[in-house]
């Protein structure tokens, strides 16, 4: 897909040798991030060194213990944080600030409480200068896609947590980003809703073909959703393990009876705990 110039990104300098067609939608190179905590005033070494490539249309899950800097990595890709060292580029454009080519879905939904569902979802197109009728049509398309048809005129406080997150996903998609970054989006909803949202997300991902980077601390969630699961170590975080999940998603839910997928989950659990030596498991294809 060709696009106009992005705000918040600039062309990568030629001497870095990244000219030509880009296989990677997202390229994270030598990222190191240190920040000063607002609460304690201490310097926190969040990310030691991370290199990561995400292909176009890929669904990648970032998995790690809490406080491991997986959300920080997502914020760095979004351009909401600037790395202490290293470089991130999205479709060959270096990330310097937030831009609409990198949409983000937050755990807290972050919907505007004074706008109804339609106006919330239409916000991205509105910011791009689209006329009302046109942007409402775009909004409707994505409201229907996330299954919120009939709730267009509801305000966020009138919706359940799961419905709010659907609205937030629709809002992010309506802005037509190239990559969708998701920061533990289903962590605040109940287990049953979470499972149906995961299935919906897979359907939406297949429909839209977007590149998705999904941060979670749930092994099961990562194993269900991802084409690949990137396991981060405790801070200062590094990529500890990259697991490619080959089991079809239709079979991943039945992990109780499916030994292959159970093996993946077991492998991820081991990867989360650095001290247990790991063995080769069927269905796991190691990288990194």
């Amino acid at each position: 897909m060709t696009r106009p110039a992005h705000s918040g990104t600039e062309p990568v300098s030629a001497e870095r040798g990244t000219t030509g067609p880009y296989d990677a939608a997202i390229s994270v190179r030598g990222i190191h991030h240190v920040y000063t905590s607002d609460q304690t005033g201490e310097r926190v070494n969040a990310i030691g060194s991370i290199d990561l490539e995400v292909s176009e249309g890929e669904f990648v899950c970032i998995l790690g213990p809490s406080g491991c800097g997986k959300s920080t990595l997502l914020y760095l890709i979004a351009g909401l944080l600037r790395p202490t060292a290293g470089e991130i580029s999205v479709n060959g454009e270096r990330v310097t600030a937030p831009g609409r080519d990198r949409g983000i879905v937050f755990q807290e939904y972050a919907l505007l409480p004074w706008k109804n569902v339609r106006s919330n979802v239409a916000l991205g197109p509105k910011i791009q200068g689209m006329r009302r009728a046109e942007r409402n049509a775009v909004a409707q398309e994505f409201i229907d896609l996330v299954g919120l048809g009939g709730f267009e005129n509801k305000f966020p406080h009138e919706l359940s947590g799961g419905m709010r997150q659907r609205a937030a996903v629709a809002r992010t998609l309506a802005a037509d980003p190239e990559v969708v970054l998701m920061d533990e989006p289903f962590a605040a909803v109940d287990a049953h809703t979470r499972m149906s949202l995961q299935e919906e997300l897979v359907r939406i991902w297949r429909t839209t073909g977007k590149t998705i980077v999904f941060v979670t601390h749930s092994v099961e969630e990562a194993a269900y959703l991802g084409d690949r699961v990137v396991v981060l170590s405790r801070p200062p975080s590094e990529v500890q393990e990259i697991v490619t999940v080959t089991t079809p998603r239709s079979e991943r839910r039945s992990s109780e009876v499916n030994h292959v997928h159970a093996g993946i989950v077991a492998g991820l659990l081991r990867a989360m705990d650095m001290h247990v030596p790991r063995q080769a498991e069927p269905g796991i294809d190691e990288h990194g």
Partner: protein, 281 residues
């Protein structure tokens, strides 16, 4: 408190027709409940004033006040004074709020300006507007401008501070979400910060306008030659105490009307409709 029989709440008593009849009468009963305490108050007042034997200069009876009300209305004094008071209050409150909102946004966006001016702003808030009165009279003389300045000054600071706290209360994640939709600085203000701060600003305006109403009485008493506040104080000096009471009652009624019919509905339309009563953004 007079307890009225509340049959409509009882599940065991009262047939369906009785309940329906009570439902029809509900607004009437509401009005009755509202007015009853005042009727009792006026009755007690009339009896006390009559029995006490004080002159109507010291303790005017409700009938004296009603007569003064009629007299002031008939001569056109009361309508003119109400118009004067409301004009200066409205202009002062609106211009004070406008400056407060503008200044609030400037300070909210500029850390250096905030560091420079906020301590001074806090200091000025600490000086009650009444303390300004001698200087205001010295600078602006008696009349419209002096009263206007008092109103303006009283409204300005509550609005300014509520703009600052309102913007601060917009969660960082909301700003970030809208920035990642591609919003520039101005779009962020228009789509997020201004509407996000609005409930707080409305509350600030309601508080400020209430303070200003009190300031109006004092300012008109000392620095004006007309208005309801002027009527209250001038009448005591001329021995027409019942006119003082007319002024008091008028102020009470006007504030109730303004607050119930204008300020409160605006607050409901923003704060409560958006479900933001518990600062859920």
């Amino acid at each position: 408190m007079v307890e009225l029989p509340a049959r409509d709440h009882g599940a065991s008593t009262g047939g369906a027709p009785t309940r329906a009849a009570l439902a029809v009468l509900a607004p009437v009963r509401g009005t009755f409940k509202l007015l009853l305490p005042f009727a009792v108050l006026v009755g007690v007042w009339q009896i006390a004033a009559t029995v006490s034997g004080y002159s109507s200069y010291l303790f005017p009876r409700p009938t004296d006040v009603a007569a003064a009300f009629w007299d002031l209305g008939r001569k056109g004094i009361l309508p003119a004074y109400i118009a004067d008071s409301m004009t200066v209050w409205l202009i002062g409150a609106l211009s004070g709020a406008a400056v407060g909102i503008g200044l609030g946004f400037v300070l909210a966006f500029s850390r250096p300006l905030r560091a420079l001016f906020l301590p001074a702003v806090r200091f000025f808030v600490a000086i009650a507007e009444l303390a300004w009165l001698p200087l205001i009279i010295l600078w602006f003389q008696f009349g419209f401008t002096a009263v206007l300045f008092m109103i303006w000054y009283t409204v300005l600071f509550p609005v300014l501070f509520n703009v600052l706290t309102g913007i601060e209360a917009v969660p960082n994640v909301t700003r970030q979400a809208v920035r990642t939709l591609g919003a520039n600085r101005w779009q962020l203000v228009r789509e997020v910060l201004f509407p996000g701060a609005l409930p707080s600003v409305v509350t600030g305006f309601r508080i400020g306008a209430g303070y200003a109403f009190r300031a109006l009485i004092i300012a008109e008493a000392f620095a004006a030659g007309s208005g309801v506040g002027f009527l209250i104080f001038e009448s005591r000096e001329t021995g027409l105490t019942e006119r003082t009471m007319v002024g008091m009652i008028v102020f009470g009624l006007i504030w109730l009307v303004v607050d119930r019919l204008f300020l409160r509905p605006i607050e409901v339309a923003t704060v409560e409709r958006w479900g933001m009563t518990a600062a859920r953004l």
